[in-house]
């Protein structure tokens, strides 16, 4: 390469550098950040949350925006990586967002907590690990908010359903030891079961990238379990369901959110996708979903998955917080978020506890999968979750 060319290249890089720092918000807009995994392993969810949030923003803007200002969503890729997320968050703060829609990945929430508390721009996410919103000192993390049941709440719902409703007491557990989501759904479940007089007859693990669970399933089968608790991602859920059938282990599976559609269609085998219980954030039949459902279907030509509604509700929460605090700055959102109560969202009635920054008394819709079909069993919330002030 000639020296001249090199100089030009250098100039081009410089220009690009400067351009990176320019780009401030224009006056009549309220900027909301959206941090999702767009290119990493959980990009399926990231895209779903983003689409849901976009639908909410479009709806709000069509109705005149907030205080006459239009909402604008700025999406940042986290690559499902803590380091990227911190850079992304700081970048969003620099460009002047007033709140950030967080990803459904707890690890990122845990890393963002201290930084967001300092920056004072709140993050509304669906990180189910309770440590994201409640610090070790038991006090809520000022800028972190959860908008679906925490892993403790969720797994207690499942545990309560297992033992109190289905009456199953000898439980085998299989979970991904290297995955925070799975681990955080396993511990409270086991504790609840033990406290309620149940027994964990076998606890088996696997790690990221494992594809063959027959060995673990065989051990659980031999331990005499009368059900299998399996709180994991959808791909592994499909594998376990199929392999359960292959080794002839036909007890019920108690599963996590990931057994929600499109799970059954992925299994593709009604014989295998059978006798599975799960709790979803909502029921497809519930009327409050219809509007979003139709908009999504018209826009993307497919049925929305549950993460779309999580994204939608996160924007609703931010809007509500602005309304309650009477302003559109990040301080207002911070002030408004903990006092949100009885907000009709798509995933339920949202009431945020000022003590935990988590929703209170959120019920889940129970389902059973029978021969590849989802059968709705109604909303369920265990006795101990009911808060006196929620509906």
């Amino acid at each position: 390469m000639k020296n001249g060319t090199r100089k030009w290249l250098f100039c081009a890089v410089l220009v690009a550098l400067l351009a990176g720092f320019v780009g401030a918000a224009s006056a009549k807009e309220i900027l909301i950040g959206n941090m999702q995994d767009i290119s990493g392993p959980t990009s399926v969810w990231g895209n779903a949350v983003t689409r849901g949030a976009e639908i909410a923003v479009e709806k709000i803007n069509a109705a005149g925006g907030v205080d006459g200002a239009m909402l604008k969503l700025i999406t940042m890729d986290t690559k499902a990586n803590v380091q990227e997320a911190i850079k992304g968050y700081n970048s969003l703060v620099s460009s002047g967002v007033v709140a950030v829609v967080g990803p459904p990945v707890s690890n990122i929430g845990l890393a963002l907590g201290p930084i967001a508390n300092k920056a004072g721009v709140p993050v509304v996410g669906s990180f189910i690990d309770p440590r994201v919103t409640v610090g070790e000192d038991g006090k809520p993390q000022a800028a972190m908010f959860l908008m679906q049941p925490s892993s403790v709440q969720y797994s207690e719902i499942m545990a309560s359903y297992t033992i109190d409703v289905l009456g199953l007491k000898k439980i085998g557990v299989l979970y991904d030891q290297s995955n925070a989501f799975a681990v955080s759904l396993m511990k409270p479940y086991v504790e609840y079961i033990k406290a309620a007089g149940g027994e964990i007859v076998s606890e088996q693990v696997y790690t990221k990238g494992d594809k063959d669970f027959k060995t673990q399933l065989t051990k659980i089968k031999e331990a005499g379990a009368d059900c299998l608790y399996f709180p994991n991602y959808i791909q592994e859920a499909v594998l376990v369901t199929n392999q359960r059938k292959q080794i002839g282990f036909d007890v019920p599976i108690i599963g996590g959110l990931d057994f929600a559609p499109p799970f059954a269609s992925l299994v593709n085998d009604p014989e295998a996708a059978n006798n599975i219980y799960l709790a979803n954030n909502f029921s497809e039949k519930e009327p409050q979903l219809k509007e979003v459902w139709d908009v999504y279907k018209a826009k993307y030509g497919e049925n929305p998955v549950n993460k779309v509604f999580l994204g939608y509700d996160k924007i609703l929460l931010i809007q509500e917080a602005m309304k309650l605090a009477g302003g559109t700055s990040s301080e207002h959102v911070m002030k408004g978020m903990p006092v949100v109560a009885n907000l009709e969202g798509t995933t339920g009635v949202l009431t945020i506890s000022p003590d935990t920054h988590q929703p209170v008394g959120l019920s889940m819709v129970m389902y059973k999968i029978e021969k590849g079909e989802y059968v709705e069993l109604g909303r369920y919330v265990p006795e101990k979750h009911r808060a006196p002030w929620s509906k």
């Binding site: 390469m1 000639k2 020296n3 690009a16 550098l17 351009a19 990176g20 767009i38 290119s39 990009s43 999406t75 940042m76 890729d77 690559k79 990586n81 803590v82 380091q83 990227e84 911190i86 850079k87 992304g88 700081n90 970048s91 703060v93 620099s94 707890s106 690890n107 845990l110 890393a111 907590g113 201290p114 930084i115 920056a119 690990d129 440590r131 610090g135 070790e136 991904d176 030891q177 290297s178 995955n179 925070a180 799975a182 681990v183 955080s184 790690t207 990221k208």
Partner: protein, 287 residues
């Protein structure tokens, strides 16, 4: 401003880790696909000592670096005598084993849910000073008997042995030094993000670091530094490209590797001599 600072800090942390890879791959010609594991060791040891055992910062950091070096010794001792191709395999396996170990020791490391609440001690000045010190150490190493012998062994192991170089010992020393640097970058990482999880230290990170070294130039330290800065900032400028970001990054790396095989800097270093040559235009750069 926070955004700028955090990107600078991450660049600095990455640079110290990449310097470790530079020593192993750029200087000595070995491939480590498990370098991120040393980062994990550094980060975890310091975090656990401080959080669980209330060890003061300085000894905790020192112990973390020692732990990373011990791990490097453990991997290095049996592998330096193996054929080069096997080192990448053994380090890969080592990386996986460390992640498994972290996941399995949940009562100490928090398992997959990670350690949170680590004090945020890494600030911009800390990172800048660290970078300068580490860079100075590596520059000294490269320009001493160690660096020369490493380069000799990289280009021709048999001839290097015939010149009286104890290649196994040399590989081991380099491995230990690289382990210490990478371990230290892990310490800085943990003290900045305040949160550590095993999943963040997989072989892809190690591979990305190796890519950075090659993009920078075969054995040019200047190139390695430039490439680290360029390739950690590049994704930031590509944010507008949204989901295309990683793809564009890959294409740029492919173009550099294929069309400028020697890397950005080739074998050249930025020194007073080359600067004069560049500015004075006395000589066209050799192709």
């Amino acid at each position: 401003m926070d955004y700028f600072v955090s990107t600078v800090i991450f660049t600095g942390i990455a640079l110290i880790g990449v310097l470790g890879v530079y020593l192993i791959t750029g200087l000595t010609g070995l491939f480590s696909l498990g370098q991120a594991a040393f980062m994990a060791i550094g980060g975890y040891v310091s975090a656990v000592l401080i959080r669980n055992y209330n060890v003061p910062v300085v000894p905790a950091v020192a112990l973390a670096i020692v732990a990373a070096m011990l791990a490097a010794l453990l991997v290095g001792l049996p592998t330096v005598r193996l054929r080069r191709d096997y080192i990448s395999l053994v380090t890969l396996g080592f990386g996986e084993a460390i992640v498994a170990l972290l996941n399995n020791s949940a009562n100490i490391t928090g398992g997959a849910m990670g350690i949170s609440g680590i004090p945020q001690l890494t600030t911009l000045p800390v990172v800048l000073v660290s970078v300068v010190v580490c860079l100075a150490l590596v520059i000294l190493y490269k320009n001493s008997k160690y660096g020369r012998q490493c380069l000799a062994l990289r280009s021709d192991e048999l001839a290097a042995k015939s010149m009286g170089i104890d290649v196994y010992r040399l590989k081991l020393i380099t491995f230990l030094f690289a382990g210490a640097l990478t371990g230290y970058s892990g310490v800085l990482f943990g003290f900045y993000t305040t949160y550590l999880e095993p999943a963040a230290f997989n072989w892809i990170i190690s591979a990305e670091w190796t890519i950075i070294v090659f993009v920078g130039g075969v054995n040019s330290l200047t190139g390695t530094v430039l490439a680290t800065i360029l390739l950690t900032w590049l994704p930031e400028f590509l944010r507008f490209a949204s989901e295309w970001r990683v793809a564009i990054y890959c294409v740029i790396v492919l173009l550099i590797v294929n069309y400028r095989t020697a890397g950005i800097m080739g074998e050249r270093e930025l020194s007073p001599k080359t600067l004069r040559r560049l500015l004075g235009r006395t000589k066209e750069a050799p192709r």
